[in-house]
Amino acid sequence: MSTLSERILGATEGEYVDRKVDKAYAHDGTGVLALEAWKEMGGDRLGKGTGYFVQFDHIAPANNGTTATLQHELRDFAKRSSMQFSDIGCGICHQLMGEGAVLPGEIVVGADSHSVTLGAFGAFATGVGATDMAAIWLTGETWFRVPESVGIHLNGKLTGAAEAKDVALAYVGKLGTDGATYQALEFVGEGVRHLSMDERFVLSNLSVEAGAKTGLFYADDVTLRYLKEHGQETAGQEYEPCSYRQELEFDLADIVPLVAVPHRVDTVKPVDAVSGVPLDQVFVGTCTNGRYSDLARFARLVRGRKVAVRTIVVPASAAVLEKAIRTGVLADIIGSGCTLGTPGCGPCLGYHMGVLGEGEVCLSTANRNFKNRMGVGGEIYLGSVATAAASALAGEIASPEVG
């Protein structure tokens, strides 16, 4: 039987195929270069049959004149060519695509490595660079090498303070940063049905940190219910037994809170092993952990108390922010002494806000802790929302309370 990647791409692993792209998206970071390549290619009209999106999330709002001018051109182009355009403040591209734009079985390409996040819908979702995106604008198509697949079997349920983020760090730690290069991850097993869409997004999101081309879940009742809430009615996907190149197995009940220590995502330790490391900043947000359920969990843990270190919270989208306002989650977060950023990528990539100073240490809910990423000489520990809350309250890395 075939893997989900083989079923969606309609070919067997190792084959090269040209395929129509169902949804294509780019952000202000990659879109600018894609637009230059598009002009050089002599692009005039968009390839037919593909949904095109541009979202401004990386430097949002613009930090200086150069950025503003580059964004101005891309904004103009996106609007003129009738792409679906989301301006600054709407949110992170992957989150916006996940709020009802992407459907199971689709081929989705984003000009960003974390496009793998949308594999959570059972879509073949993968990242490309700017020139590949320009060619997709031109033709609506691109080429793929059908990947081999890695089976990640999940059993049981998460317990205590453990979160999907801890499972994600556990599998990246096991596979290593290149353990799944050129391959696709498939998350399967009876434990999957206990995971919400928000939790599945986290697991898919980190798949590129193991080098994977995408990280897939089969669309089930949880997927269909989520899509219905976002205005989409569609059919699910049945898992068929198939052969995997590698297989990993996790009992979710055994997962404990983990952190990735500087400067590698695959250097993973229990939080207890590094508790007490003094912090200068805590950051809650990103395409990994900036969703409503993350903000609600964080708020529940800090409510009525004060954070002991500067803490920046950035909702993944305007919809997340609006819901956090409506439910009082945001009041709890602000009341605890945290500050808020515009919905978008925030400090994750060290461009324009929340940048670390020389020697400063940050506990972040993001997905990358590469050397100097958030600022020259800064150190990044990656952890869950609960670990971020406990650490923000303590002013140092601290094990999360059960919550």
Partner: protein, 156 residues
């Protein structure tokens, strides 16, 4: 497609943030990328890359999809990159921009001469000829055209 250059040795798992830092991405002046390439790894590296063949460890180009990483290597004068494996987006980006990548686990000797022929499938280094796996036919077509921009200019 043939080429040669002087070996510059780099470790495994070089991510694209290290190739070109986020703080230099927003510019119209691409020459900045050539002078700032690898700044956070070793600020003295950039001037040594003219005519260089980078020989790196596994998983070169992991992380962010930023295509500026490939432009930075080209701007600095890098001729080709040899590594046992590349991150997949970096691999596509390099082919698309016309920077040859060679999948080969090569023992690196700093400053030695490295020559290659992608069409015939070999690398000469340290007095030895190493066979390399050919690129897919599509990738060869794109590289031969000089990159994906030129490929599509010719195919429309």
């Amino acid at each position: 497609m043939q080429g040669k250059g002087t070996a510059v040795c780099l470790p495994a798992d070089i991510d694209t943030d290290l190739v070109i830092a986020g703080r230099y991405l927003r510019t119209r002046d691409r020459s900045i990328w050539g002078t700032r390439v690898f700044e956070d790894l070793d600020p003295a590296l950039a001037p040594r890359l003219k005519g260089a063949v980078i020989v790196a460890g596994k998983n070169f180009g992991c992380g962010s999809s930023r295509e500026q990483a490939v432009h930075a290597l080209r701007e600095a004068g890098v001729v080709a990159v040899i590594a046992p494996s590349f991150a997949r987006i970096f691999f596509r980006n390099a082919i698309n921009i016309g920077l040859p990548l060679i999948e080969l686990d090569l023992t690196c000797k700093e400053g030695s001469l490295v020559a290659f022929d992608l069409s015939s499938g070999w690398v000469d280094a340290g007095g030895k000829r190493h066979a390399i796996r050919p690129l897919s036919s599509r990738m060869q077509e794109i590289l031969q055209a000089g990159g994906l921009v030129e490929y599509w200019r010719a195919h429309r």
